[in-house]
């Protein structure tokens, strides 16, 4: 059922879920930019992707992949983010967070654009078959 469950759409869904998760973490880091003792969090996606890569090339529709993504939830790195600790023991790096914010938003826009194109293609496929 390539048309009803196109692999691209499920990949897009997985990407958007991750993108949202990342946005939540960025929002939390930015909200706590002045909280003493707060440690920045980061979604460690690339490392998990690397360990997955060996036996299973990035196929977000596979159960193995989705289980690793759901495991990400508990894997959020609390202390591993490199950044200098200020007097208040807070290591939120403002520039890094803002870059991440912009990147995340742009990636989401691109992917949603791809989604719309995919739907358009499916739609035109249906239309052409009808005539």
């Amino acid at each position: 059922m390539e048309l009803i469950h196109p692999p691209l759409l499920s990949q897009i869904k997985a990407f958007m879920d991750r993108s949202l998760r990342r946005q939540e973490i960025i929002s939390s880091n930015l909200a706590n930019v002045d909280t003493p003792g707060y440690r920045a969090k980061r979604l460690e996606f690339s490392r998990i992707l690397r360990t997955q890569r060996g036996d299973h090339w990035m196929d977000p529709s596979s159960s193995k992949f989705s289980s690793s993504v759901s495991r990400l939830h508990s894997r959020i790195d609390r202390k591993g983010v490199a950044g200098s600790l200020g007097n208040d023991r807070n290591n939120v790096n403002l520039e890094a967070e803002m870059t991440e914010l912009a990147q995340n938003l742009l990636k989401f826009s691109i992917v949603s654009e791809i989604y719309q194109k995919e739907i358009q293609m499916i739609r035109s496929g249906i239309r052409e078959g009808r005539s």
């Binding site: 998760r21 939540e24 960025i26 929002s27 939390s28 909200a31 930019v33 003493p36 959020i76 949603s112």
Partner: protein, 148 residues
């Protein structure tokens, strides 16, 4: 379970906290020369303490029951403290609040320090507005998907 609107709550908590901080700063600045207060003595500089707080919405609590930890941390004002540092003494023998030696106790407010904190609070407010807008953009784009 999407916690998309919780991300907005986190940004909103930061906006509220920073605005509260601004209010306190303004109070400090306005009273930087106040020598009389209801408690007696000169005005004392006020400061506040931020603390992070895991956001506990209903879906979040459900998710925790399922074993997953919460990702969202809002910010709240833990308490408002009074700066214990001594007041600044100025020699003004003619002043009605002067002591026997002619010194008037002025508030322990340093305008330079307040201005620096003011800038930091405004910046923090701005970046959280940016984060808020980013989430709104993502929601808007998700809605647009349905129109494709």
């Amino acid at each position: 379970m999407s916690t998309l609107f919780s991300a907005l709550d986190v940004s909103a908590s930061a906006l509220q906290a920073q605005r509260q901080r601004l209010n306190l700063l303004i109070t400090n600045m306005a009273n930087s020369e106040t020598t009389r207060t209801p408690e007696g003595g000169p005005y004392r500089r006020k400061d506040l303490v931020f603390a992070s707080q895991p956001l506990q919405s209903f879906p979040e609590i459900l998710a925790q029951l399922g074993g997953a930890g919460t990702t969202l941390e809002a910010v709240r004002i833990e308490r408002i403290v009074t700066d214990p540092s001594p007041p600044r003494l100025r020699y003004q023998p003619g002043h009605p609040d002067a002591d026997e030696a002619g010194f008037v106790a002025y508030p322990n407010v340093d305008p330079l320090e307040e201005m620096a904190t003011l800038m930091s609070a405004v910046r923090a407010f701005e970046i959280n507005v940016k984060a808020f807008e980013a989430v709104r953009e993502i929601v808007q784009r998700s809605i647009d998907l349905a129109r494709a």
